[in-house]
């Protein structure tokens, strides 16, 4: 096989784009692992929620004509809505399903997270059906809700979720430019720029803000941090908030650039992003970013040699190899056995 | 007296830190020996090297005339070394007697097939295990409490159960890591005489790490003092008590001449 540089360069850019998604989602895993030493198994579903809430908001803005008048504003608002929705989901999950288990055996939060993961997938799927049933309730033969309400509510719920695949309106075209012989779409550049700016922002936040310091203290020792006057619960909530918002950002991007979203979309990116987090050294924020891009590139390089259907095998295989040979990841510090 | 355990120029590093530094020690067979030293002096690290939990970078550990460094812990246990932990580490969701029976693992042989088919061999072994465990329970004064989950036992009983579990391995050498930690003077005096009884009745060599000087001085036939990973003194109680280096290590530089009592 002759080495085709143009094709290789295209794949490289492709790898960086995919890597951006992995990196953004991986940050949430790593931050939560950092403060709680737990794997938030439902993190992939938070990413999914971000995509759904983003689409729902975008549709509202299209309906209201805002998208026609000022597409940029509408897109920015879509991102913000998706991030806020995902953040709210993440913080709520932590409060209801993880916080009561903080002192429980290790298995308990993991099972709880699996439960949440299934719940969210199903919630999005059956929301319209559920709405229909509730709206159709009758007391003594008379409908509780006036017919106008029924239609409105069911319409809104159907617009939000449901069994079928949902599709984002095509915002970005395949327009682009040539970099030498390599064609690069603007949309890819936008993904890369948004992701990288966000990640640099996060890194600065964690490195220099009071919150960042508090997060590091909590991850060292919750009890001692509490004695130092740190509100541990608040720091954990804020960690979930930030990590989930990043996943929401990735979710909206996924929708805008790949168009189709569905209730199960969180699973594979979730696992991949976890791999990325481990790859970079779990608990380590720059590590998650590095891991995300490494995994993205490894996948595109892997499918140069293997049929494309084995892309997922590459990721899992890499995960196993990393855990065997360098369980601390690329940037990870030596974890004590307790943390493992 | 020949020595049962010998450490020759043992060195264990953690990164740049010399946790145990060129440490040599001979533990006479049948003795009660003690290692003392300030916190972080490398005492527990030394124990961890002996039982195979850590691999020392340099030096040799000779047990019963054979080098054992580099062997996996379960094999070293099989040779006849048992230990207890500074912070009690029992199998908390198993009963007291089961803890002891697990301690007999190296001396029992039932395979998976025996276990599944309940072969006569297996039944005999199980019966003997239980009888032996009951004997050990009695020996440490826990008769009648064998069917209580380990985590539900009171603190003192947990300490004694841990010793019983260590004895279940029929050790030639028993390593006790701060056995009286967290005990009141009465309990610790009781445990001291129990340790003495152990050696006198079972002939087990005992090497212990201890902070309580009353205990150390009362039972030790040989005391070794570690500071910053190195041996600074060795001898009997009297020699150690009057050794200026030891006083310095414990009380700080200059303390021996009465100038200062702080160590920084």
């Amino acid at each position: 096989m002759e080495f085709d540089f143009t094709r290789f360069a295209e794949q490289l850019i492709n790898g960086l784009t995919v890597g951006s998604f992995y990196a953004l989602i991986a940050l949430g895993y790593t931050m939560v692992y950092g403060v709680l030493t737990m794997i938030n198994f439902a993190h992939g579903e938070i990413f999914m929620m971000g995509a759904y809430i983003g689409l729902f908001s975008l549709n509202r803005m299209v309906d209201a004509g805002l998208y026609e008048r000022s597409p940029i504003t509408a897109i920015i608002l879509t991102f913000l809505a998706g991030m806020a929705g995902a953040a709210l989901t993440g913080v709520t999950i932590e409060r209801l399903a993880y916080r009561p288990l903080r002192r429980a055996a290790r298995l308990a939060p993991l099972i709880s997270a699996i439960g949440i993961s299934i719940f969210l997938q199903e919630f999005v799927r059956i929301l319209p059906a559920m709405g229909e049933q509730v709206m159709g309730l009758r007391i003594a033969g008379n409908p509780i809700f006036p017919p106008g309400w029924q239609e409105a509510v069911i319409g809104v719920l159907e617009d939000f979720g449901g069994v079928q695949v949902k599709t984002y309106p095509g915002i970005f075209t395949t327009d682009g430019f040539y970099l030498g012989e390599v064609y690069v779409t603007y949309s890819r550049v936008i993904i890369l720029v948004i992701s990288m700016l966000t990640m640099v922002g996060l890194w600065l936040l964690v490195k220099f803000s009071r919150l960042g310091k508090a997060m590091r203290a909590v991850s060292e020792d919750k009890d001692v941090a509490a004695l130092m006057g740190i509100n541990v619960n608040r720091v954990i909530s804020q960690t979930f908030l930030i990590g989930s918002a990043l996943a929401g950002l990735a979710g909206v991007m996924q929708g805008m650039f790949y168009l189709q979203i569905r209730n199960t979309m969180g699973f594979v990116p979730g696992i991949k992003a976890f791999t990325a987090a481990v790859l970079g050294g779990i608990g380590n924020i720059p590590g998650a970013m590095l891991g995300g891009y490494t995994l993205g590139l490894a996948e595109v390089i892997g499918i140069q040699f293997l049929p494309a259907i084995y892309k997922d095998v590459v990721a899992f295989g890499l995960l196993v190899l990393i855990l065997i040979f360098k369980p601390t990841g690329i940037l990870g510090e030596a974890l004590t056995e307790k943390k493992m | 007296m020949s020595s049962i355990l010998e450490s020759r120029s043992l060195t264990k590093k953690f990164g740049g830190l010399l946790a145990v530094n060129d440490f040599s020690l001979e533990v006479p067979e049948g003795s009660i020996s003690c290692i003392i030293g300030p916190n972080g002096a490398g005492k527990t690290t030394f124990f961890n090297c002996v039982v195979g939990f850590y691999l020392p970078e340099e030096g040799e550990i000779i047990f019963n005339g054979k080098p054992i460094q580099g062997m996996p812990p379960y094999k070293i246990t099989g040779l006849g070394i048992s230990r207890t932990y500074q912070n009690i580490r029992l199998f908390s969701n198993m009963t007291a007697i089961e803890n002891i029976i697990v301690g007999q693992h190296a001396h029992t042989k039932a395979t998976m097939i025996d276990a599944v088919l309940h072969t006569p061999k297996n039944r005999k072994e199980e019966k003997e295990s239980v009888t032996e465990a009951q004997r050990l329970l009695e020996f440490v004064g826990l008769s009648g409490e064998g069917d209580i989950l380990a985590r539900n036992l009171p603190y003192g009983a947990q300490r004694r159960l841990e010793i019983a579990r260590a004895l279940a391995n029929k050790p030639k050498l028993l390593l006790l890591d701060e056995p009286t930690a967290g005990m009141n003077p009465y309990e610790s005096a009781e445990l001291t005489s129990f340790i003495k009884r152990l050696r006198d009745e079972l002939g087990t060599t005992i090497l212990l790490i201890e902070h309580d000087m009353r205990v150390v001085m009362k039972i030790s036939e040989q005391i070794t003092v570690l500071d910053y990973g190195s041996k600074i003194a060795e001898g009997n109680a009297k020699e150690i008590q009057s050794n200026p280096k030891v006083i310095e290590a414990y009380l700080g530089r200059g303390a021996a001449s009465g100038l200062s009592l702080s160590r920084d």
Binding site: F119, Y310, D312 | P72, F91, T95, M112, V130
Partner: protein, 340 residues
């Protein structure tokens, strides 16, 4: 009459321990009460539901060895079920024109699965807790992807069809009720052996590893060997269940072996009471039978399932029937389990 029954009961409990007697009792009660109904009405529905519950009990008992006894969190258990199923499927169907006897392939399937269990065990030996969960999850997914994509071997997503029915003394076991009995017997056998293991030198070594791996090794337990033994035994049971599944269904598809099977099995163990054999049975009744019986709520099945996991972890993390240790020091007339 009642006196004699009492005497028999206390004799049995003394001989086998109360737990075993209870397990066998529960099994008999279910079998005796439910069987006549099936015989009378010949309802395929019940044969199917109880048959599946039985298969999940077998899977649960197998995974319980790995997770409950040895404390190794395995989220890829479905892989061994798949290996068992495909071993029989490929060796007794038109796929390759091989038609080996079920009774020959059953042990072979079990052995192959056990071998796979040990092979998976080797690289993940040093991992603990959540890491192990994710790697085994990845392993399960890799097996499913391979089944889907090795078309020449497994026929891909079209699955293996026309799998032979077992023949015993010239009599073809082709109706649901035959498999019902076969599964029933296997449940009893696996529960019985599993209970014996639990209270043996092997079982105690596993539990010691679960409680504190380092100390277990200091007891003279070769933890590497015992962990592999646990992986192997668990996988062996999974392989048995898989072979029966494949003979019963007559056709198998990669999607029969998705992640949700692993999650189901793990959840039923934990809901039932981790490490507890009667717990596995109760867990399977709660998570497999109940949802199947409550068909009218089928829309909400998974949603409630997810919620149940979370609520159980918060309200009763030790499960419905927490595992108990047997009294050994003071054996009385009727040995009682140890209570807290």
């Amino acid at each position: 009459m009642i006196d004699e029954a009492n005497k028999l009961f206390s004799n049995l409990t003394r001989r086998f321990g109360r737990q075993t007697v209870m397990i066998v009792g529960i099994l008999l009660v279910i079998g005796v009460l439910v069987l006549p109904v099936i015989e009378f009405q010949r309802q395929a529905f019940w044969v199917r539901v109880i048959g599946f519950t039985g298969l999940y009990i077998i899977l649960g008992l197998g995974l319980n060895i790995v997770v409950g006894f040895a404390g190794l969190l395995d989220l890829g258990y479905v892989a061994f079920y798949a290996i068992g199923a495909y071993t029989y499927g490929l060796l007794a169907s038109g796929q390759f024109g091989i038609h080996l006897s079920f009774w020959l392939v059953l042990p072979l399937a079990a052995l192959l699965a056990a071998l796979a269990g040990v092979l998976l065990g080797i690289p993940v030996l040093r991992m603990r807790g959540d890491y192990l969960a994710i790697v085994t999850l990845g392993f399960g997914e890799i097996i499913r992807i391979l089944l889907n994509n090795l078309r020449g071997f497994t026929n891909g997503s079209q699955g293996v069809v026309g799998i032979d029915k077992p023949v015993i003394f010239g009599y073809v076991l082709d109706s649901g009720i035959h498999f019902y009995y076969m599964i029933f017997i296997l449940v009893a056998v696996v529960a019985f052996f599993s209970n014996r293991l639990n209270h043996s030198r092997i079982g105690r070594a596993w539990i010691a590893i679960r409680e504190d791996e380092d100390v277990a090794e200091m007891m003279g337990i070769n933890t590497t060997l015992y962990k592999l033994l646990a992986f192997g035994s668990g996988a062996l049971v999974g392989g048995l269940a898989g072979a029966i599944f494949s003979a019963w269904q007559g056709s198998i598809f990669p999607d029969n072996f998705n992640l949700f099977v692993s999650i189901n099995v793990l959840s039923l163990i934990i809901i039932g009471g981790i490490g507890s054999i009667p717990g596995v049975i109760v867990g399977a009744l709660a998570l497999i039978t109940l949802p199947d019986v409550l068909r009218q709520f089928s829309d909400y099945r998974l949603l409630l399932y997810g919620l149940l996991l979370v609520i159980m972890m918060i309200a009763r993390p030790e499960g419905f029937i927490p595992s108990q240790r047997r009294k050994l020091e003071l054996r009385e007339e009727d040995p009682q389990p140890v209570t807290d």
